[in-house]
């Protein structure tokens, strides 16, 4: 670069020498809600431990979270992509039911896993693409577009069959029945698939240009466009990813329940959204972490486990999750309001 005048202090207008804490906050301030989710998770564990007199915090309880909620984790990962762009995907529950049915039907018809599983993923991706095109090319609000996807998925699930279809394919059953033990810890192949999904998502979101574009769109679509980022393509891709994840979740849930059932996943989209929001992702987009969504799923699972342990009404589940959602939304609203005040 060209020569510069040097006789002046090298400091910006408002920057002093920051402390470690300040540096951390300025770099990772957006993680605060995720930390809050971790804190809530820890509190839940401690609470469970106290109420259940030392019978709660043990490897099996924690292992079970992943065994029972692998499908929800995968859904939450896909949902995180969509919410980060500032959108929402209501279709995931019914897409999961549809792909589960589709897979079960194909297997029951004697087709090999090598065809059934890709068909499930493609089925999910296709509905995601449908939603993405409505959103991007026709300017339909994500809520409404994914609503059409929800109807579509649910109806298709029933068109495959009105009743549940049993799955006897050993490869699919193996996914859930295999217990891999590490000491007292247990994990199933479904859990491993879910964790791999999280890992891939984290890599894509943080270390690829596509991932950063997702964040940029959520921050400001207009700015992202002015910066020359590929906004349209990326937004559609987010919905396709969410649809594909729903397809994968269909596989995991089928493995978990040994069957495809057309009524699976009614309202699950709300659970997935709640998990993502509790995990610290802003519903307005642009801020959040896929690892946070994982914490959110664990918070969700832990609450459910505690309620089961206590023999309390399942109704509390919805109320607690709803309240947590409200809490996080209000906190996020405050954060956003503060950020706007600064501008």
């Amino acid at each position: 670069m060209a020569a510069m005048t040097t006789a002046r202090p090298k400091s910006g207008p408002s920057e002093g020498r920051p402390s470690v804490v300040q540096t951390f906050l300025s770099r990772h301030g957006g993680m605060m809600p995720t930390f809050a989710a971790v804190a809530i998770l820890i509190l839940l564990f401690i609470g469970g431990e106290i109420f259940l007199r030392g019978d709660f915090i043990k490897p099996l309880t924690i292992s079970n979270l992943l065994i029972n909620y692998a499908y929800l984790l995968v859904l939450a990962v896909g949902m995180t992509f969509v919410i980060l762009t500032g959108g929402i995907d209501l279709s995931v529950g019914s897409v999961m039911a549809f792909t589960g049915m589709l897979g079960a039907k194909l297997l029951a018809d004697g087709l090999p896993v090598g065809i059934a599983v890709p068909a499930m993923l493609l089925g999910g991706a296709a509905i995601g693409l449908f939603i993405g095109i409505l959103v991007q090319y026709f300017g339909v609000q994500p809520f409404i577009a994914s609503l059409a996807g929800l109807f579509l998925g649910r109806g298709l699930a029933f068109i495959v069959s009105l009743n549940s279809i049993k799955v006897e394919d050993p490869a699919v059953l193996w996914l859930q029945s295999t217990r891999i033990k590490v000491g007292d810890w247990v994990i199933t192949p479904t859990g491993i698939i879910a964790l791999i999904t999280v890992a891939i998502a984290a890599f894509v979101l943080h270390l690829t240009r596509f991932g950063r574009t997702i964040y940029a769109i959520g921050g400001s679509e207009q700015s992202a466009r002015l910066m020359g980022l590929k906004v349209g393509r990326t937004k559609i891709a987010a919905y396709v990813i969410s649809g594909t994840c729903a397809g994968l979740a269909g596989l995991l849930l089928t493995a978990y329940s040994n069957a495809g059932y057309p009524r699976n996943g009614i309202g699950t989209e709300l659970d997935a959204i709640a998990a993502v929001v509790i995990g610290g992702t802003l519903l307005t987009g642009g801020r959040g972490y896929v690892l946070g969504s994982m914490i959110g799923v664990f918070v969700y699972g832990t609450i459910k486990t505690i309620i089961n342990f206590m023999g309390a009404e399942q109704a509390w589940m919805q109320i607690i999750v709803g309240s947590l959602l409200l809490l996080f939304i209000v906190v996020q609203r405050a954060i956003v309001a503060r950020a706007e005040g600064r501008r």
Binding site: S14, T23, G29, R209, L226, R342
Partner: protein, 507 residues
């Protein structure tokens, strides 16, 4: 300078929106290593010109040459790739991402397809260092002040191979120290040979920084001048233009009442609004028109907001008739007889999809309350009488207001406010962007209303108009009312001098 070829040359640029030309055969040139300022009031075509250069808008006619070669950009991104970067007034960056990402987004350094955060941080630090900034490249952009964000935007612009840097009102939300910091950076870039287009409505800043000035008015080129050869007062005159026609001050001036403020209908003392107006005093007598003159950014709109409950008062008191009023909403102000017409007719004025009747009766109906509905026959009668009185065309009561011309939309808005039988009418640029006929009608209407006892605050960027309509004129600069003078004692030139004077404390 003339031996050097211009780096960027725009000739015959024309941009039309419908029948109106927002830019009419404008020429503009920019040399390497100069700061060139683009001046003009609202609607002069500054933004349109910038958009034409940066590819945000397609020109209907005209050609753009960069380093002698003819170019045309379909998107801002294409312009950027050719070395034309823009920093907008509203920072077009992403507060949710790190400083380094904001500098490099879209062209992140990668290793084997993977974004290298470390490399990105190092390079960002280098670019920032170049601008004399030490800030943590990994910190989130949103955690920094607007000034720093502005500098990061510049860092983004120059981190690519930049030849032309467009700065659109970069200083509007900065304080003095921050402006100084920005100017230091701009001068360095200039020394490196970057051509800089600098748009600002602060005259002091323009005179401090710019080598040359191009003035636009109503979408047309007024001229290009060397800053050293253009007197400030001449610049302002060129920006505001001058209409031919006699300036007729209104006949009646109630100076006695106005001077001591005892009979004031509205009296404001020390009124301040954050980032807008500071310590303004206003006295408005019955039947008086107070013109408000000032350049864009002088605080004229903030003053209107302060008087009408639109903006929250930081300090000061407003007394309407003889009671102190803490105006907390436009509704409250309306209930006290003070009504406001916004300068932004489409955004803050009309309800575009509703009919003329609905728009005219909107405020009156809200004042009466939801359940005391004005009977339909009465509504139509009322609206029809206003359509007739103000000559709103076409005289179709059921037409959606959004389909009317600007002047007629303005008249509908006036009708809405007048239907409230207000005591104080605050009009913010009521004649902006409307045709000459409607303009004169509105000016005459204001005089007529005042003759009938209504008090009016009339804000306009056009000095002739302020003089013609106002009994007294409040001159605003830098958020303050610097002087209030009887219109009869002013000429366009003397008012021009008052408006254009350098602000105190800035030099």
């Amino acid at each position: 300078m003339d031996e050097v070829r211009p780096l960027l040359e725009l000739t015959g640029a024309t941009v039309r929106f419908g029948a109106d030309a927002a830019l009419d055969r404008v020429d503009f040139r920019l040399y390497p290593g100069e700061v060139h300022s683009l001046m003009g009031e609202n609607g002069a075509g500054k933004s349109t010109l910038i958009k034409a250069i940066t590819g945000a808008l397609a020109m209907d006619e005209g050609e753009l040459r960069l380093a002698g070669e003819r170019v045309s950009f379909a998107t801002p991104h294409e312009a950027q790739a050719s070395g034309i970067s823009t920093v907008y007034q509203e920072i077009e960056l992403l507060p949710n991402l790190s400083v380094a990402e904001n500098v490099f987004l879209g062209r992140e350094p990668r290793r084997g397809g993977v974004v290298s955060r470390r490399l990105m941080r190092e390079r960002a630090a280098a670019v920032l260092e170049d601008l004399g900034l030490t800030l943590d490249p990994a910190s989130l952009l949103g955690t920094h002040s607007v000034a720093v964000q502005q500098l990061v935007a510049i860092a983004r612009a120059i981190s690519a191979d930049v030849r032309v840097l467009v700065l659109d009102e970069p200083t509007s939300s900065l304080d003095l120290d921050e402006v100084a910091e920005l100017f230091r950076v701009i001068r360095e870039l200039k020394a490196r040979g970057v051509a800089i287009l600098f748009v600002s409505h602060f005259l002091d800043q323009v005179y401090e920084l710019a080598d040359r000035i191009t003035v636009l008015r109503d979408g047309e080129l007024v001229g290009e001048y060397l800053t050293g050869e253009l007197l400030r007062i001449d610049l302002v005159q060129k920006m505001l233009g001058r209409e031919i026609g006699e300036v007729r001050a209104r006949g009646r001036v109630s100076e006695d009442d106005a001077e001591d403020g005892s009979a004031a209908v509205l009296r404001a003392r020390g009124v301040s609004v954050a980032h807008g107006v500071a310590g303004a005093d206003v006295d408005l007598a019955e039947g008086e028109v107070l013109g408000v003159a000032g350049l864009l950014g002088s605080g004229r709109t903030s003053l209107a907001h302060a008087l009408t409950g639109v903006a929250h008062l930081e300090s000061g008191v407003i007394r309407i008739e003889s009671t102190d009023a803490r105006l907390d909403s436009p509704r409250h102000a309306i209930s006290l007889g003070v009504v406001y017409s916004s300068e932004n007719r489409r955004r803050d004025g009309i309800v575009a999809e509703l009919s003329v009747v609905d728009n005219i009766t909107l405020a009156l109906q809200s004042e009466r309350g939801v359940f005391r509905r004005i009977p339909p026959a009465r509504r139509r009668e009322l609206a029809a009488s206003w359509v007739d009185a103000l000559d709103i065309r076409p005289p179709d009561l059921d037409r959606p207001v959004g389909t009317l011309s600007g002047g007629n939309q303005q008249k509908v808005l006036l009708a809405r406010l007048l239907a409230l039988s207000p005591r104080v009418l605050v009009l913010d640029e009521p004649t902006r962007g409307i045709d000459v006929g409607a303009k004169v009608e509105i000016q005459n209407l204001v005089s007529e209303l005042a003759d009938n006892g209504m008090s009016v605050v009339f804000i306009s960027a056009e000095l002739e108009e302020v003089l013609r309509v106002g009994d007294r004129v409040a001159v605003m600069r830098d958020g303050r009312i610097v002087e209030t003078v009887a219109a009869a004692d002013l000429t366009t030139d003397s008012l021009l001098a008052l408006v254009a004077q350098p602000g105190e404390g800035e030099d």
